[in-house]
Symmetry: C2
Subunit: 349 residues, 2 copies
């Protein structure tokens, strides 16, 4: 079924059918209804490719998830507390606003060209990128991209530096400084002074900001940074586990630790428990993200809640604004976070 047949059946021309489909104002109600009747009767839907080729948008958004996880692990993206709820929200809000959503996973900076390809093939009108690490590949893609794009978790200053002035781009972050400060403050309030830290990744904006915020907040409270208590976890379970084992072997433990995500916090809890070190009695553990597991594990995990759903919502809205030309240039949104007190952090023993 094509518009020409609809036209014939309704006794009008293709142009009129097109006008009806696109809600042109200069079609009298009577004609419109006559055409709509035929359209409904035959469940006619215009061919998207033809519309796009003739100049319309695709009404499709591209979502690009950068995964740092092992390709073999079936839960790698959904274990990742970011992606699950975020993806869901993008699809939700996107569909609600009338967009189709195309999803890609990118496992490696060398696959960044997929972003450019998807745009070049005119498959999408705009894109959302999340989980990107800072590297040459993504930077060169961004610098040359001339389509609306939303980047989640990225340094807005760097974007400003590499993007052309008139690029339609939005950056969305959560308040990592406040989040990490509230972690330190909470542990300090509980009487802890020997506080350990499990780093994320420096190449990630949030990983970097959380690390810096931790250092500054510790100094603010006049607390020392003990190199032995500083673990490199890279946001990954196995790395955190290995680092915690080394810490335990050293025989010198802090009374509390902050992990840069829930997954590492969980790995730390399990490792401590397996070595007969009780959580939270012997050591308090603070997570970050408030992923679904945080409330389910025992002891439940004190953590910082990132408003993933709201961030995704904001992302789609920002993209939609840029697509409808309501917005140009660089915009930056920072969403608020919240400390969630649960069982894994208690008063210093």
């Amino acid at each position: 079924m094509k518009s020409e047949e609809i036209a014939k059946l309704a006794g009008v021309s293709r142009s009129t059918v097109s006008r009806v489909i696109n809600n042109y104002s200069n079609v009298p109600e009577k004609t419109r209804e006559k055409v709509m009747k035929v359209i409904r009767e035959y469940n006619f839907e215009p061919n998207t490719s033809a519309r796009v080729l003739a100049g319309k948008g695709t009404d499709t958004l591209g979502l690009f998830l950068f995964s740092i996880y092992d390709k073999k692990n079936p839960y790698r993206v959904y274990g990742n507390s970011y992606f699950g709820p975020f993806l869901e929200a993008v699809i939700d809000v996107g569909n609600y606003k009338g967009y189709y959503v195309m999803v890609h996973t990118i496992y490696n900076p060398s696959e960044c060209w997929r972003i450019r390809q998807t745009f070049s093939q005119r498959r999408i009108d705009g894109g959302i990128v999340i989980g990107t690490e800072r590297n040459q590949e993504i930077q060169s893609i961004l610098a040359e991209l001339n389509h609306p794009l939303v980047i989640v978790d990225y340094d807005p200053e760097e974007i400003k530096a590499i993007m052309p002035k008139d690029a339609k781009i939005a950056v969305i972050n959560s308040n990592d400084v406040k989040g990490m400060e509230s972690c330190v403050d909470e542990l300090v309030a509980l009487g802890h002074t020997r506080i350990g830290f499990i780093e994320g990744r420096d190449s990630t904006y949030s990983g970097y900001v959380r690390k810096e915020a931790f250092k500054r907040r510790m100094a603010y409270h006049g607390l020392p940074l003990n190199a032995n208590y500083w673990l490199k976890g890279e946001f990954v379970k196995t790395k955190a586990e290995a680092a915690v084992k080394k810490l335990i072997k050293s025989g010198d433990l802090p009374t509390a630790m902050i992990a840069c995500n829930d997954e590492m916090a969980l790995a730390a809890m399990d490792t401590f428990k397996n070595h007969g070190i009780r959580v939270p009695e012997d050591i308090s553990i603070m997570g970050y993200d408030d992923s679904p597991i945080a409330s389910v594990t025992r002891p439940s995990l004190s953590t910082v809640r990132i408003p993933f759903y709201n961030m995704a919502q904001k992302a789609v809205e920002a993209l939609s604004d840029m697509l409808e030309k309501k917005a140009t240039g660089l915009r930056h949104y920072q969403l608020d976070v919240e400390l969630i007190q649960r069982e894994s952090c208690i008063k210093r023993p």
Copy 2:
């Protein structure tokens, strides 16, 4: 940049560029290289809409997730153990095979038309549907659909009945009979005789099959079905919680319960614990799915592992086979499941 410009720069005609892009055999290596050089230099990507309009496929798969969850809950799909890993795997395997993946969430049978629309607009070549309940809407969509489709968790007999004989369709299930039988067998082996059951949804194929399998296996072991131990959970946390509360209030508890998914099992565990009933010391709890939370909660959850990743993989492969015309008619695949013994089920007290 369009193929005509590439042609001019390479000193050939558009047809030759097209032949190179589509890997036609009758292009000599020398010409191919000459054209490819220009294509690479300009990062040329052919316009998808034009290709589709000219008769090529979209190389896009549609994934339709039917969610029974509350639209307000940000984790509703990812809390759903099915969707997270499944979605991930479809994107993964799909991308790997060179397909783009478009994802939709459907919250209501009345939104089923979105499936037909996406096909009618020629946005996708084939579709995968998961989580569908049996109802008029989906049946009429299926009956009229003339594109390759994969349905996960659906009654193959019904499909056979409503679909035209030559329809390209595949049904993928996991072995729910075996899964539920192994649950009952395990509890019986642990000495339990008073075994309760938290139902899923009858309108769901897996929900129905698990229920029937439970009844039959109890009879097989000569065990009674106590109406008081039979709870309606509808696969949903809150319903399971309410039903368990009622059970507790009755004062008559079984020594073990089987829930039709992990989420309800978790809700049951929490509810029992909150009422001072110990799991597993006072009552054993068996889940179903082996979602990410199952191994993380304490006590960890004994459950049946559904091979989500493999099912998704199979789904994409089956779809791909149908798209490449290697397969026609109805195919049915049933994947194997595995009982996972953890801490929530122990010998009868």
